[in-house]
Symmetry: C2
Subunit: 439 residues, 2 copies
């Protein structure tokens, strides 16, 4: 065994304890992960995961696409493909992105194994140990996991109900520059943010892009939910404003189905080439089989109509969730998303959502504690509630169960507070105010 | 733009030139990659790629499996799954590995996006910059690309007709230890080696494992071809001898179809857990859709019979290739594989297979030059010939075309040699003798 103990991973029962790369220390199990096992028990109402409601997709559409692919192009579907992705699908991806104001060339699209893998590849290409990634606070759990796995530091910039705050972004950049830090990119989910549920306004898109341009900071725009709006269409993508300074990530996981594992990156020309090489090194080529079925589906099914169907389903579920919150927890605050999958709930600041979770699971409701979405321990009194997968009836039941858990915690702490003020239980100094309730 | 120019990647036309991670410098286009474009023209006989002959698989078997999955478990197939892979498939993978003498528990199998991705994940987990990976020389192209992309040094250990030479392995390890190098693992393809076509004997498997055990070196056993033998079954996998010191990689790409992108790692228990976390960070979960179709196929189709069919197809192709080599290029040497996809051809040492390639493509035959399989410039007078994809007729035609290219090069150099001895054109000092012709 090599005699190296510097990577804090592994333990004495692991004979390879001393052999892991330093970066492996950053790969810890996320709080969301542990929940998946719990939440999959049928009696638990899970408001935790981000699973789309795939039963809203008529399976005949998939079966038809599969059968057509196999009878017309079976050998190609079963074979290795291009490391950049199937050309016909890349053309169709341009049509999908056009719905969000993006004009691009087919050469700059790189198909990946879900947009998650695009995130991984971009991180592998850009992040040296100690580099800084700017991101909203809170941010997408598994993005934070990836950035840490490449030993980057995550700098959270606060949001309000209009999304990332430009002035705060400027301040953070200046502070990092003064500290001699090397900022590699801004990772942002501008539309129907996961987990915060807010959308970056058009004016701020322009302003944030200007800040990044003038500071030479690449923008990594992650947009899984943009087509799943409930009322008005959201503002066009940041990528619609800028070609060379933005890597845009898209996916079929939310508008079609995640089981195919097909997403994409639209990258500046020079970066695109390296992204393909990284993709080939990682998986040789994304699945031809999955890509060709999706291509066939886009070619022959009413995919825009199907997205409308999903919009209707998720709109109803969001409304159900917000009605239940208004009915049961009227004194708390939460965001009112105009699309996507998530509501961000703020508890009284003396409650700890992670500590409360085991009790919630006992009461047969699951959620994701807010700390999972920060790299630095923030979010202790926040909860992400997902309305994408459970039915409206389950959502109502879940919020009712959650309410009894929260109220029980409050009662418990109030009886303790007889011996001291509640304000003694407080956040630490770098606490950032959560986005206010906009409902 | 950040002002960093240390990573030798990008160029002045790339506005992000200075921003790449140091590791991105290791991601260069492989020689095989450029060939894929050329070799896909229908008039070219490609002896270059490693594409299996998927037309040898009755498509009804796939269509039946798809339809059964969609009618019985459609919603699960379209959804996210476990980061470790579908449990039913992991059970079946145990049956596949049992054919090569491996006993294992279902908990230690991690399904990946092709075994390529398992290689990537293991490399991400273990390789710090400057670490050494031992591998056969030559070795699998895209393994070398991955190791370089994590800034590892690849140390090639020579082979002969019985595979990796234990005494040479000992010497390399001792030399590296003297030089203060940190060896992370031995990457080996013991059975039907890509590209060399040789198989590690049983005695050497035992001996090499002993060496690695005593030196505390992890073994990464890559076995895509083991079930595709032509005569006798090859020796059992190295993993059959050892549980804690071997990560074993398998795939359905060669025995079923690569278009699904489903492979796996069987890892020591402690490593397995980290591999799942790395898999989740990279792709959330491997494709449920692909995994469930394969699981259904294994459940209901005669998959062992199908492997027998493939064995017959590839055996005929190998025999055709060797007959053609014997007929047209009797003075050269080549390996005689008992399975897999590849023959390793050795040219006279004054020929350069990479320089010769454009002429070969002009003559409508493609191959992979030997230098692609080394990290250090070796292999200049070697060629990898693939017999997996072209029909026997194409193979015969391809070898005939290759012969005329080789003979023209020889004639050309012989006419030049009037002004000096041919031996003036020679390898550099660290040249390793290629495996001798064993036919």
């Amino acid at each position: 065994m090599n005699d190296n103990t510097r990577s804090g991973t592994g333990n004495n029962l692991d004979p390879w304890y001393g052999n892991y790369a330093a970066r492996a220390a950053g790969l810890a199990a996320s709080e969301v992960r542990a929940l998946f096992a719990v939440a999959s028990r049928p009696e638990v109402v899970s408001l935790a995961g981000g699973m789309p409601f795939v039963s809203g997709l008529p399976q005949d559409l998939v079966i038809d696409a599969m059968n057509r692919v196999m009878s017309n192009q079976g050998a190609a579907a079963l074979q290795y493909g291009s490391g950049q992705g199937v050309p016909a699908l890349r053309e169709q991806i341009l049509d999908v992105m056009a719905l969000e104001g993006i004009k691009a060339g087919v050469d700059d699209v790189v198909v990946t194994t879900g947009s998650q893998h695009a995130l991984e590849l971009v991180s592998k290409l850009f992040l040296d140990p100690g580099d800084v990634v700017l991101s909203e606070g809170p941010s997408y759990v598994t993005a934070v996991v990836i950035f840490k796995s490449y030993q980057a530091e995550i700098e959270h910039v606060p949001m309000d109900e209009h999304g990332l705050i430009p002035e705060a972004l400027r301040e953070h950049i200046n502070g990092l520059k003064r500290a001699g830090k090397r900022i590699k990119f801004l990772y942002t989910i501008p539309t129907f943010h996961n987990p915060a549920g807010v959308t970056l306004s058009w004016e701020r898109r322009v302003e944030i892009l200007e800040i990044c341009r003038s500071e030479g900071i690449l923008v990594l725009e992650d947009n899984p939910y943009g087509l799943l709006y409930f009322e008005e269409k959201p503002p066009a993508a940041i990528r619609s404003l800028e070609t060379d300074g933005v890597i845009y990530l898209g996916t079929f996981s939310k508008t079609l189905a995640p089981g195919f594992r097909v997403g994409w990156a639209l990258a500046p020309h020079a970066i695109r080439e390296k992204l393909i090489l990284a993709n080939e090194a990682a998986v040789l080529s994304p699945s031809s089989f999955s890509q060709m079925i999706i291509s066939q589906y886009l070619d022959t099914a009413d995919w825009k109509g199907q997205i409308d169907t999903f919009r209707g389903i998720y709109k109803e579920r969001k409304e159900t969730m917000l009605s239940a919150l208004t009915e049961y927890l009227p004194d708390l605050t939460w965001t009112n998303p105009n699309g996507g999958f998530y509501v961000w709930l703020t508890l009284p600041d003396y409650l700890d959502s992670k500590q409360m979770l085991p009790r919630a699971v006992t009461e047969l409701v699951a959620y994701t504690p807010g700390t999972a979405f920060f790299a630095d321990g923030q979010g202790r009194n926040n909860i992400r509630l997902s309305f994408c997968y459970p039915t409206p009836e389950q959502i109502k039941l879940g919020i009712r169960r959650l309410t009894s858990v929260i109220n029980a915690e409050r009662d418990l702490l109030e009886s303790f507070s007889a011996t001291g003020p509640l304000t003694a239980i407080r956040r630490d100094d770098n606490y950032t105010a959560p986005p206010p309730n906009t409902n």
